[in-house]
């Protein structure tokens, strides 16, 4: 039977489409299944990309038999992508990832042991206090930290002067007193990031709690109801009392910084990146260490590290490349905040006057943020409890009790 023209066209189009799909698969399988012994694939967040390109050029110049292929990731996608890659076993050779997630991967035995890289060239005591320990489980270190940062107190010296305050607050009592004095007209004493990433708020909560006696042991917070209540009262109560912005419910870190730049928020705990941004905008800014109960408060360190997946096809080359990235010059080139190694901090870009407070905070008054997956799984619930207090639906005492229950339950599972 003869095929009619339109039927022929339809069958032809369908056949060509299916053949094209099959051919594409075959070509890809043939081209990519071989693998290249000398290519190290490195997943890099896009904010590090430009510096990474220069570092790779320098590395390849010293190691002509190895090439490094850079793949860009974004801050919002790197966690998901890394988790799926590690779960599937189809992995790159080096991944730049948040330190807070390292323990999750290490618990699943998905990371290579990098302990052997530490020694005379990369001494552990050259790193920020507690940092290497926070990435070491059962005697094995599973990541090479390279950038590290904490909050410090950012304040507007002009607003302070106008309110008759001549120095930044050194204690919680002074912080509250100053914030009340600064709150007037369009200006509020401070603001909290209750919108956006829940961990932004819980990090501030933990900074208050740790400053008041709570501890972080083996990546997990050990809270007491007293310290929790005091921390919740400080954040939630400040919104109720009016010396922290009521718009905190709608603010993330970016929005708080923008309100600070507009002169509407007088002070807040913020990162060093905000300082650079304020200076670029020509806004009045000064910094101090965080206030604590009786003196300097404790900040929680957060940062990024290089990981080598256990199933990397080029383990030795990957470790060698990570060792190169751990050199002080490489670390200094790869971060805008602070390098993880103290010797790398000598670079002049980390020595500006506004960074002095951050350097002191990091070196003397900081501990690594918790990275236990059971805590990170509780962050949203803890955030919501603080918000309940700010909304006036719960007392700080009730919220502290509920937070204790949430954390106890998470760690009991």
């Amino acid at each position: 039977m003869a095929i009619k023209p339109r039927t022929g066209i339809l069958l032809g189009v369908a056949g060509v489409a299916v053949a094209a799909i099959a051919a594409t698969v075959v070509v890809n399988v043939v081209n990519n299944s071989g693998g290249d012994e000398n290519v190290v694939t490195w997943w890099v967040p896009d904010w590090d990309y430009d510096a990474a390109v220069e570092l790779v050029a320098a590395y390849e110049a010293d190691n002509p038999d190895v090439s490094v292929e850079i793949v860009q990731t974004t801050g919002d996608t790197v966690a998901n992508r890394t988790a799926v890659a590690l779960d599937s076993g189809n992995v790159p050779d080096v991944i730049t990832e948040s330190i807070s997630r390292v323990r999750t991967y290490a618990d699943k035995e998905q990371l290579a042991d990098l302990s052997g890289l530490f020694g005379a060239d990369i001494p552990t005591d050259d790193f920020a206090p507690g940092l290497v320990d926070a990435l070491t489980f059962d005697g094995k270190t599973y990541a090479m930290p390279y950038r590290w940062a904490t909050n410090a107190l950012i304040y507007n010296p002009e607003l302070f002067a106008a309110a008759g305050i001549d120095a930044p607050p050194a204690t919680w009592d002074e912080f509250v007193e100053d914030a009340k004095m600064l709150t007037s007209g369009d200006v509020v004493g401070t603001a909290w990031p209750m919108q956006g990433e829940p961990s932004d708020l819980t990090l501030r909560f933990l900074e208050f709690a740790v400053s008041d006696g709570a501890d972080i042991v083996d990546g997990a917070p050990e809270l007491s109801e007293d310290s929790t209540q005091a921390a919740v009262e400080m954040i939630g109560g400040s919104v109720l009392d009016g010396w922290a912005s009521p718009s905190s419910f709608e603010l993330d870190n970016t929005a708080i910084r923008e309100l600070f730049l507009q002169g509407r928020v007088a002070m807040y705990p913020g990162g060093v990146f905000d300082v650079a941004e304020a200076q670029a905008q020509g806004a009045p800014i000064a910094t101090a260490v965080l206030p604590g109960l009786d003196g300097a408060g404790t900040a929680l360190g957060v940062g990024w590290a290089h990981l080598v997946p256990a199933k990397s096809a080029h383990l030795d080359a990957a470790k060698d490349f990570v060792a190169f990235l751990a050199e002080p010059e490489s670390m200094a080139a790869l971060t805008l905040t602070f390098p993880a190694r103290i010797s790398a901090s000598e670079d002049e870009k980390f020595q500006t006057p506004e960074r002095v407070a951050y350097a002191e905070q990091l070196a003397e008054h900081s501990v690594p943020a918790p990275n236990d997956p059971r805590w990170t799984g509780s962050v949203q619930a803890v955030h919501d409890q603080i918000q309940e207090v700010a909304l006036g639906r719960k007392t700080a005492e009730q919220a502290a009790s509920d937070i204790q229950q949430i954390v106890d339950q998470a760690f009991a599972e």
Partner: protein, 280 residues
């Protein structure tokens, strides 16, 4: 009678009021997005908040088109969307036709089983799909992502097409065959033209699903060469801050072509979705 006549205008006003409320509720975020995209940075966080910019600026759009990977990502989104739409139509028309026309044991359970794919959360199928795409060496390629998107589109579109075809009297195809045509001829000359509006709707649906899909795209594409627009949107949020102006401008760029396409083709879309609704 008089009461009923009086009640009618009130009912009409009530309906219009509710419709207006729904319209405002639905469009308010879009309006905020559009106006924010034209605001300079300092106005975005202005207190008190204003809807309209004081100073209108194209800077955010300039950033999107000159200082980001969005142009390439938009092209990738179009390529992936078209691949998904084409492959969906080829696969789902074949499957839908078989389910609607051929009587075989287990046809009904199989049709229901296919629909199960629509109710499984995407995160559940993410890892298996990743491994399948990886085994075909298609990670970080537009065609690999299109494969993954088929897992989203195929279940529902198969059902849409099946219902479209089932609504067409089989007598028409039989008449064509009695006149000497093959089954393929009957499908090509009778069935396909009749359910064309439904296929346009199905193709649009597949394209839309692919266009705004984020999870698979964020995991299966790693380089900018295959990154689609929803993933490229995350480039405007770095570790420490979010460029809301550029994010909104990119969202406008991502949304407007789609709205225009939808308005142009909406009569097919509505007709296609409701076609076959009375006969399953």
């Amino acid at each position: 009678m008089k009461n009923r006549a009086l009640a009618r205008p009130f009912a009409v006003i009530g309906v219009w009021f509710i419709l207006a409320l729904i319209l405002v509720w639905s469009l308010a975020p879009v309006v905020v997005m559009v106006f924010t995209s034209f605001k300079p940075r300092d106005e975005i966080f202005q207190v008190p908040t204003r809807l309209l910019p004081d100073v209108w600026t194209w800077d955010n759009f300039v950033t999107v088109f000159t200082a980001s990977n969005m142009p390439g990502a938009l092209l990738n989104s179009i390529v992936v969307g078209l691949l998904v739409a084409a492959a969906t139509l080829i696969f789902c028309f074949s499957a839908g036709y078989a389910l609607a026309r051929f009587k075989f044991r287990g046809a009904r359970p199989m049709a229901l089983f296919i629909l199960l794919g629509q109710v499984v959360p995407l995160t559940v199928v993410l890892l298996p799909l990743y491994q399948i795409v990886s085994s075909m060496q298609l990670l970080d390629t537009t065609i690999g992502l299109a494969f993954a998107h088929l897992a989203i589109t195929v279940p529902l579109v198969t059902w849409m097409v099946r219902n479209q075809i089932a609504a067409i009297p089989v007598d028409l195809e039989e008449a064509a065959q009695i006149d000497g045509g093959s089954r393929f001829d009957a499908v090509t000359y009778i069935t396909l033209p009749i359910c064309a509006p439904g296929l346009v709707a199905a193709g649009m649906f597949a394209f839309l699903q692919s266009w705004h899909e984020f999870l698979f795209a964020s995991v299966m594409t790693s380089s900018t060469a295959a990154r689609t627009a929803p993933v490229a949107l995350t480039e405007f949020a770095n570790e420490f801050s979010v460029d809301w102006g550029a994010t909104m401008a990119a969202s406008v760029v991502l949304t407007v072509p789609l709205v225009i396409a939808f308005i142009a083709l909406q009569r097919y879309f509505v007709g296609g979705l409701t076609g076959g609704a009375v006969k399953g």
